[in-house]
């Protein structure tokens, strides 16, 4: 959309300072916006991977999943003071997996007998409790959990904008995570059992597999993944008690759009949302421009036409989810309608 045309307001955001608009600079800007979107999408995928698997199998949308992401960040921050960067990330993933196991085994299991709604409500309560406990232990303001100096350099440059190595690292960890889970699910025996349990838990149980153990294991691994994501992304984004709240809703949107229980769907949805918000922010046009372009007279419409596209970037994922839920609830790649 921006690349297609050279002159006009929309393009000013991408033209070089001096106003000329060589096609190369347009391509650079397009590429940068695409990369920013992809990296942010991959981060969101890292967190939602665990959630979509757990939902697929246990039919419960875990509200506390984003809290595991937060615990991962704080665990890595806390242990990072005593052990190295990579070790701290590893410890964080293990600690959060432990918390996940505890949650499933001792809490969720007690409530499962009452049906999915009580499980949903329990995770809703856990979300609040975990946020307040983090505030209790680490205080309300963000903690100084930062990218270590060794990793703060520029990976490559596109036009004038440098792309930091750490964003590439985050993207890399997410991709590795996707392929590891994908491989585990498709090629290993345990993966087969997990996929079967996602479809028909009762049947798998009848075949003699200890389904409850698989549940706990999957829940713990799901939590561990979110913890790992938190440990890695916590360095780049502020680690504060509000981080779970901010990311929480976006992760649900990704799981729903991607199709409940489908890993590929979650990856596709996260990338789509990441790129969409990145591009929407890049566009400088307003609704007013859109109305003119379509030829309608701008009636002012109570000040709405002066609203910039970029200022509604945050709402696009929800609009997409609403359309999908009404038209195709199974989501992009889900099978459960």
């Amino acid at each position: 959309m921006a690349a297609a045309r050279c002159s006009g307001r929309v393009d000013r955001a991408y033209g070089t300072g001096t106003g000329d608009c060589g096609l190369r600079t347009l391509m650079d800007a397009f590429l940068v916006a695409l990369l920013n979107g992809l990296v942010y999408g991959l981060l969101v995928f890292m967190v939602s991977a665990g959630l979509t698997l757990v939902f697929g199998m246990m039919g419960v949308l875990n509200f506390a999943h984003a809290s595991f992401y937060m615990i991962g960040a704080y665990a890595a921050y806390f242990s990072g003071r005593y052990i190295g960067f990579w070790a701290a990330v590893g410890v964080a993933a293990v600690v959060v997996a432990g918390v996940g196991l505890f949650t499933e085994r001792l809490l969720l299991r007690k409530v499962r007998v009452y049906g999915h709604t009580q499980e949903l409500l329990l995770t809703y309560g856990l979300f609040f409790v975990i946020e307040e406990v983090v505030k209790l232990l680490f205080g309300p303001t963000p903690v100084a959990y930062r990218v270590p100096e060794a990793l703060r350099f520029t990976a490559f440059t596109i036009g004038q904008s440098e792309f930091p190595f750490f964003r590439v690292l985050m993207g890399g960890v997410a991709l590795v995570m996707f392929f590891v889970i994908y491989a585990m699910l498709t090629f290993t025996r345990i993966g087969l059992v997990v996929r079967a349990a996602v479809e028909r838990p009762q049947m798998v149980c009848a075949l003699g597999h200890n389904v409850s153990l698989i549940f706990s294991g999957l829940f713990a691994v799901g939590a561990g993944l979110a913890g790992l994501a938190g440990a890695v992304a916590g360095m780049y984004y502020p680690t504060s008690p509000a981080m779970a709240h901010e990311l929480g809703t976006i992760v649900f949107v990704v799981v729903v759009i991607g199709g409940l229980g489908s890993l590929n769907g979650a990856l596709a949805a996260s990338l789509l949302i990441g790129v969409m918000t990145s591009f929407a922010v890049g566009v400088e046009a307003t609704f007013g421009d859109l109305i003119h372009r379509i030829g309608l007279a701008s009636t002012g419409f109570a000040g709405l036409d002066a609203v910039q596209f970029s200022s509604i970037a945050g709402v696009l994922p929800y609009a997409l989810m609403l359309v999908l839920l009404l038209w195709r609830p199974a989501g992009l790649a889900g099978n459960r309608n």
Partner: protein, 418 residues
């Protein structure tokens, strides 16, 4: 004796202004509004089995429209003042009709996610439409007088709110006992059977959603009338989660359950918030404990006790006493632990330690001074937790088994993916 319960409650509420000081009266206005809002919300959950995660939109829209109507009155419109909350109610109803039509196409988790999506969309539009909704600073309008009533003082506002809340609850009680109420409960039980009996269940669920949104709009209107202002932060998630918490703590299955939950959490928030910064943590823990051990909420527990009494069986008082004490001990232990940790973590603690030269300055909890690292403190905390969990040891078994049967039917169906 039970026949007089409603009259007893209303008499008590009528006499309240003479019994209490202004701060508590203001708290009671908020309790009444929260109770009506929770009752309206529970029409969807308790009666139709649909859990909405974005009900703040209709509450806030009701508030905005009531303020806009109050502004119209200031500019000379002859709209009758007592009907102002109704303006909020109608606005909530209409918005609920549109949103409900979309949301009730799906059930269970999908329904919940659609309500979240609609909330975010409405919030995005409202926050940008400054000329109408006033953005962050919001919109304000004075309370117009009406005939003999000045409606300026808090006592007038209290009675005004009380009248509307009693009307709202009476309407919900009347709806629940009406044929329409019967069909709505049928939809919760077996939606397909209802459609095979000739009812358009999608239209029914849309109507129920709209009525629930309308009642929430009335509650929003009452809040706007009390505050004489409203702004876009009302559309945020906080009001969607508090109404859910109230309904769970109070109990979705009992008619007045959500109102009880609303009363407790509002008073808790109003008073305890000034005593300790960690009141949200205590509320969260209470919520989790209730979901775990009292799935039908506090009113559910009371109804169970009533039913055992009515069935002639004697209540196991020693058991209840034992559990009560156990719970109190556990709560005290948790509060002591949390307050001490909270004090130690704060930088000001170490500043006073350095300036006063005392290694572990005392932390006052429950009016007593505790030295954090002292063995006495450690022993007390351990003792409280140990004794408390001992007393509660047998608690889980019986309570959970019979609750499982009833609750499974009530909410199990609502949560199942379609």
């Amino acid at each position: 004796m039970v026949r007089f319960a409603p009259v007893l409650v209303i008499l008590l509420l009528l006499g309240l202004p003479r019994l209490v000081d202004m701060a508590f009266l203001n708290a009671m206005v908020l309790v009444l509004i929260a109770a009506l809002y929770a009752m309206g919300y529970n029409l969807l959950w308790g009666q139709a089995g649909l859990i909405s995660f974005g009900h703040a939109t209709y509450f806030a829209f009701g508030a905005s429209c009531t303020i806009l109507m109050m502004q119209a009155i200031e500019k000379g419109s002859s709209f009758p003042t007592p009907l102002l909350p109704l303006a909020g109610g109608v606005a909530g109803f209409l918005l609920g009709l549109v949103a409900g039509w979309f949301a009730t196409i799906r059930t269970g988790v999908y329904f919940a996610m659609i309500t979240v999506a609609i909330t975010e969309l409405v919030r995005a539009i409202v926050q940008r439409w400054d000329s109408l909704f006033g953005g962050e600073a919001g919109i304000a309008a004075g309370r117009p007088a009406w005939g003999p009533f000045g409606l300026q003082k808090l006592v007038d506002v209290y009675y005004f709110t009380l009248v509307w809340v009693v009307l709202g609850v009476a309407f919900l009680w009347f709806l629940q006992r009406s044929p329409l109420g019967l069909v709505i409960r049928g939809v919760r039980e077996q939606e397909e059977r209802v459609s095979f009996l000739g009812y358009d269940t999608h239209a029914l669920k849309t109507l129920v959603f709209a009525i629930s949104a309308g009642i929430s709009g009335v509650a929003g209107g009452l809040l706007a009338f009390t505050n004489e202002s409203t702004n876009v932060t009302l559309y945020e998630g906080a009001y969607s989660s508090t109404v859910l918490v109230n309904t769970v703590i109070g109990g979705a299955g009992v008619f007045l359950g959500p109102a009880v939950g609303a009363a407790l959490t509002t008073l808790f928030g109003y008073y305890v918030a000034n005593m300790t910064v960690y009141w949200l943590l205590y509320m969260g823990l209470l919520f989790v404990v209730i979901v775990l051990y009292a799935p039908r909420g506090l009113s559910g527990l009371a109804v169970e006790a009533m039913q055992t009494l009515r069935a002639g069986k004697r209540l196991a008082f020693p058991l209840i006493l034992r559990r009560g004490i156990g719970a109190v001990l556990l709560a005290a232990g948790t509060i002591l632990l949390v307050e001490i940790i909270g004090a130690i973590v704060a930088p000001v603690y170490w500043a006073t330690a350095k300036s006063t030269g005392v290694a572990w300055p005392a932390v006052t909890v429950f009016g007593l001074a505790w030295t954090p690292a002292a063995p006495l403190t450690m022993a007390t905390i351990a003792g409280l937790f140990g004794l408390g969990s001992l007393l509660l040891r047998g608690a889980a078994g019986p309570a959970r088994r019979n609750a499982a049967a009833l609750i499974g039917r009530l909410t199990g169906r609502a949560g199942r993916a379609p």
